[in-house]
């Protein structure tokens, strides 16, 4: 989230699209209720199903899954055509006025530079014209036809209300009402918040779904303000933290990136990460990249990372592809190219798409290690459970080691919630049996592997034997020790760059925050954006001060919010070019003539003059991007693409199938149903229930009682058409698998009319498997296609094709 759960109370309009907070985040949704009750805020829900969020909405608009971009670009088109634009914000704080290179164009669903064989773009024209002064050329009058604003205006012009209705199946009056309500929030005194989750990410164009809404929010002037923002509700309790700390193939902690093999040394690596400002006076905060990178290397390898060895740059593995995400991992496994796999609290047999492929892949491993408090399906993928896991154990040669770990109640440390709050928690119970903490397990793996390398030698042991491991007990680092390492330490005394007489941190002390980090090896920090979480003031993540001056919803002293305890990102943008709040009743920070001050930690240098320095300090432009240059693989603007399996063709670009830049492995394309398939005519989607959390709560007695049994949800119309009775058994199958379930026939799902043709939706909840206290069942991943988002490879779980038929029930 750019904002926080408690900030939602400040909004005037909540748009829930790509999520279902009332059911998936019930106690967070309370803040929507608060805004409705106390501020008169309104709620719009756009979803294929009439969810419980929709049931309390002021306006519900149905939409066919996978068409959100067409809907959102339709709203942007409406706002542009109807002057629903916060012009002062757009002109000052976005790149609307930047001139784009000649040669950049969009035609027939493709941007300039497409290479069909590679399914990739040459993005060289997707950029600004750079002037002789080295800065991007701008036209503040927005008259130049090549400025971002005019290109955007032309790009969205095809998304007329009529086109939106044809693509999305949303009734026209509903779409226009949504557009009108959203358009009202272009007033500086009105704020809209966007609440979204996996309903937007789990598409082959998930990143662009989110970008489309972010662009709309910028056009309305809603980023950085109280009650505004782009608010990712997120999934697991620490999914934000795991992303922040960079546990992904291509990441280093704090959104630094792992080198690729073309970056042969530190200087080459840094040459593309210099981030020179693109406009005068801009902070371009990534100019500090080297400080964060070197401090990370010092946290990894301590005294062994020296200026002489480029701070152990060579010890980081170098990528040869964009990343080894979970889909690529299973693809390699399936090709027999992997030996071992670790699943730490992760159940890919139910979580990764195309379960048949997942089972075959795991069966080709030499070894699989699982660490979990619960008995997962993945740990037992080799065990026969009849139709629910139909395998022959004797044919599976994988050695499986299942390690019991503690659960939350027995473990200590911090979790980062979707508000970016790092909240410390304490252990209260004794673990069952011989269950051990993950900290102990990971330490044991490292210590034992290191010992083998010390004894036997072997392949390049240097990064393992030199890993900084100076914990009081090498067998189990404590949460406090690790938190201090994340925060960072002064290895030599650090002085203020502006005033060398001023000491920022004495040698041996914890640094106060990331401003004290240095690129000469005199500081260490595991994750720069978390710096300040545990400094010489103590464990700031354990703070429990509930004070909230003027009841703004800020709670500045409750735990710690990254970065720098900032509660609203881009909060400088809550004030105009003179530094005055756009809406005085919703002040966050203001310029007092000498500095920025207010309820929150300013997201800008406190002394940065308002007219000089732009609010979006991480961008070298200092402004936000309506045109994202070459940052996204599939285009600098979002464009409508159908899901890879779609009941209708792409009306904007009939020749384009799916997202043209999404990666598809050989063999997977053949496993997609064709567009408008007669064999698989129904549009399926997956979702969560209030009573369950993924595949955990089926192990929990109360929840297994509340929602005991797998089902699929269909409309009364489809049930009538197929002769399916309420509570009757059905078979649902896709090109990749088949499942059996009871049918829940509801009014919550209705057929949509898309381009004149009815489209039936089949809803498939995701909480069942073959271990735990609930009845055995299936999940959507038995059916879903093996393809991910073009930018981040999140699998397309929300839109795929199936067929359905009534069957006699299984023998009880």
């Amino acid at each position: 989230m750019t904002n926080s759960w408690t900030d939602i109370k400040n909004t005037d309009l909540v748009v829930i699209m790509g999520g279902n907070a009332a059911e998936a985040h019930p106690c967070g949704f309370k803040w929507v209720t608060e805004a409705k009750a106390n501020r008169g805020a309104r709620l719009i829900v756009v979803d294929p199903r009439f969810t419980r969020s929709a049931s309390v909405a002021d306006l519900y608009a149905p939409i066919r899954q996978g068409t959100d971009i067409a809907f959102l670009l339709g709203v942007i088109n409406y706002c542009i055509q109807n002057e629903k634009v916060q012009w002062d914000y757009v002109k000052a704080f976005t790149n609307a006025s930047y001139i784009v290179k000649d040669g950049f164009a969009y035609k027939d669903g493709l941007f300039t530079g497409y290479d069909e064989a590679k399914r990739d773009y040459d993005k060289s024209t997707w950029d600004y014209v750079i002037g002789v002064d080295g800065y991007a050329v701008v036209d503040d009058t927005l008259a130049n036809p090549r400025c971002v604003w005019n290109l955007l205006k032309a790009h969205v012009s095809v998304y007329t209300p009529e086109m939106v209705v044809r693509i999305c199946g949303t009734p026209k009056d509903k779409f226009l009402k949504v557009a009108e309500m959203i358009g009202e929030c272009s007033s500086p005194s009105k704020a809209m918040t966007s609440m979204y989750a996996l309903g937007w990410t789990q598409h082959s164009k998930g990143s662009q779904n989110i970008r489309a809404m972010a662009m709309l929010q910028l056009i309305l002037g809603n980023i950085g303000v109280r009650g505004g923002g782009m608010n990712a509700l997120r999934g697991h309790s620490n999914i934000q933290g795991l992303t922040d700390v960079g546990l992904m193939s291509n990441l280093l902690p704090g959104y630094l990136t792992l080198p690729n093999e073309k970056e042969v040394d530190l200087e080459t690596y840094m040459s593309t990460r210099g981030f020179k400002p693109l406009r005068p006076n801009q902070m371009s905060y990534w100019q500090n990249y080297r400080k964060f990178f070197v401090s990370f290397q010092k946290a990894m390898w301590g005294p062994a990372a020296t200026p002489e060895n480029d701070f152990a740059y060579d010890w980081l593995p170098k990528l040869d592809v964009s990343g080894y995400d979970i889909l690529r991992a299973f693809e390699l496994m399936n090709q027999g190219k992997m030996t071992g796999y670790f699943c730490q609290g992760f159940n890919p047999l139910l979580a990764a798409p195309n379960r048949k492929k997942v089972t075959e892949s795991l069966s080709k491993l030499k070894y699989l290690v699982t660490m979990d408090p619960l008995d997962t399906e993945t740990a037992r993928f080799w065990e026969n459970h009849g139709e629910f896991n139909d395998v022959d154990s004797s044919q599976i040669q994988t050695e499986v080691i299942q390690l019991p770990s503690t659960c939350f109640a027995e473990d200590e440390g911090s979790l980062t919630n979707s508000s970016r709050w790092l909240q410390w928690h304490w252990p209260g119970g004794t673990p069952p049996g011989e269950a051990r903490t993950d900290n102990w397990i990971m330490a044991q793996i490292h210590v034992r592997l290191k010992e083998l390398y010390r004894k036997e030698g072997g392949a390049f042991p240097d990064p393992i034997v030199n890993l900084d491991w100076a914990y009081a007990d090498a067998n189990e680092p404590t949460a406090e020790e690790l938190a201090k390492e994340i925060n960072g330490k002064a290895l030599a005394t650090v002085y203020d760059a502006a005033d060398p007489t001023k000491v920022l941190a004495e040698a041996g002390k914890l640094v106060p925050g990331f401003a004290a980090l240095r690129d000469d090896g005199s500081t260490s920090s595991g994750c720069w954006i978390y710096s300040g979480c545990f400094n010489e003031n103590g464990n700031n993540m354990a703070r429990r001060d509930t004070s909230d001056p003027d009841e703004t919803g800020t709670y500045p002293k409750w735990t710690f919010s990254w970065p720098a305890n900032r509660r609203i990102l881009y909060n400088r943008a809550s004030a105009d070019l003179n530094g005055k709040a756009w809406d005085p009743s919703r002040k966050v920070i203001e310029w007092d003539g000498a500095k920025w001050a207010g309820y929150d930690v300013p997201d800008i240098a406190p002394s940065a003059k308002p007219a000089d320095v732009g609010p979006f300090i991480m961008n070298p432009e200092g402004v936000s991007r309506l045109f994202s240059r070459g940052m996204m693989r599939d285009g600098p603007f979002p464009a409508h693409y159908e899901p890879f399996e779609s009941p209708v063709g792409n009306l904007i670009a009939p020749k384009v199938r799916g997202n043209p830049a999404a990666r598809v492995f050989a063999g997977d394309f053949e496993q997609f149903a064709e567009t408008a398939s007669a064999e698989f005519p129904y549009a399926a989607t997956s979702y969560r229930l209030t009573e369950h959390f993924h595949y955990w709560t089926k192990h929990v007695r109360v929840n297994a009682v509340l929602q005991p049994e797998f089902f699929v949800e269909i409309s009364e119309e489809l049930a009538a058409e197929k002769g399916i009775t309420k509570g009757g058994w059905v078979r649902v199958w896709s090109k990749r698998g088949s499942i059996q379930a009871k049918a829940v026939v509801t009014k919550r799902i209705k057929p949509l009319i898309c381009d004149g043709k009815p489209v039936h939706v089949v809803g498939i909840p995701l909480h069942w498997g073959f271990t735990g206290a609930a009845k055995k069942g299936f999940g959507p991943n038995s059916l879903t296609p093996f393809v991910g988002d073009a930018n981040i490879e999140t699998p397309e779980y929300k839109a795929f094709l199936v067929n359905i038929e009534p069957i006699a029930g299984p023998v009880a």
């Binding site: 759960w5 408690t6 106690c27 803040w31 999934g235 697991h236 309790s237 620490n238 999914i239 933290g241 546990l247 992904m248 093999e261 990894m300 593995p317 170098k318 990528l319 040869d320 080894y324 690529r328 992997m338 071992g340 796999y341 730490q344 609290g345 992760f346 030499k366 660490m371 619960l374 154990s393 050695e399 499986v400 080691i401 299942q402 939350f408 440390g413 979707s418 790092l422 304490w426 252990p427 209260g428 004794t430 069952p432 011989e434 269950a435 034992r448 390049f460 393992i464 690790l482 938190a483 595991g526 429990r544 509930t546 909230d548 959390f693 709560t697 192990h699 929990v700 735990g772 779980y797």
Partner: protein, 199 residues
């Protein structure tokens, strides 16, 4: 935080006092004693309170766990009740149907208690000691790493990568575990590395 008298304990004690005084004033001395006998002792009075957060979704509601026994004193602690933390700014004491049933997660029958191993071709798990399990894991890792570690690519560039063993990390672990995991995985040269944020 665990030292202070809990709100429940305080209210429990104060409530009992009010009732006794009122009944005594009405001249029901003996009834008072009998009544006091009949009231079940408040079940959380002798428990230890610990603050935690709900492990499910990323709203991260505050919870209070009540245990018999105090881990801080080195005692065996059994959690007997979990409820919403009324001081928490986000959830203000409320919990959803998942959070409200957390006790059954802690005590689930399918909680794992011992390390287990399933040998190739076998149809069952067998118990194994931690030492044997961990030594086996280290051996499997090292054998694979030694056999398949790539120090230089075909152009002679140092790449130091290991792509035949991969790691899926848990997005319900703490940041501290995440950081430790990061150190262990990356120092081994692993690139096949992901977490639930992907899916």
């Amino acid at each position: 935080m665990n030292m202070e008298l809990s709100r429940r304990q305080f209210l429990g004690a104060a409530g009992a006092g009010v009732a006794a005084t009122a009944l005594g004033a009405l001249g029901f001395g003996e009834i008072e004693a009998a009544h006091a006998e009949a009231i079940r002792a408040f079940k959380l009075v002798s428990t230890t309170e610990t603050r935690n957060t709900c492990p499910y979704c990323s709203v991260a509601c505050g919870v209070i766990m009540y245990s018999k026994g105090d881990r801080k004193k080195g005692e065996r602690a059994e959690i007997i009740h979990i409820e919403g933390d009324t001081d928490h700014p986000t959830n203000r004491g409320t919990l959803c149907p998942k959070g409200a049933a957390l006790l059954d997660f802690v005590k689930s029958e399918t909680r794992l208690k011992y390390p287990m191993i399933r040998k190739p071709g076998s149809d069952r798990f067998e118990r194994v000691s931690w030492d044997d399990a961990l030594d086996r894991i280290a051996r499997l890792m090292k054998d694979d790493r030694d056999a398949n570690f790539i120090q230089k690519n075909k152009d002679g560039v140092t790449v130091n990568r290991w792509i035949t063993t991969g790691f899926l990390a848990a997005s319900a672990t703490t940041n501290e575990t995440a950081w430790e995991t990061y150190k262990v995985v990356r120092s081994a040269g692993m690139l096949v590395f992901d977490n639930q944020a992907r899916v």
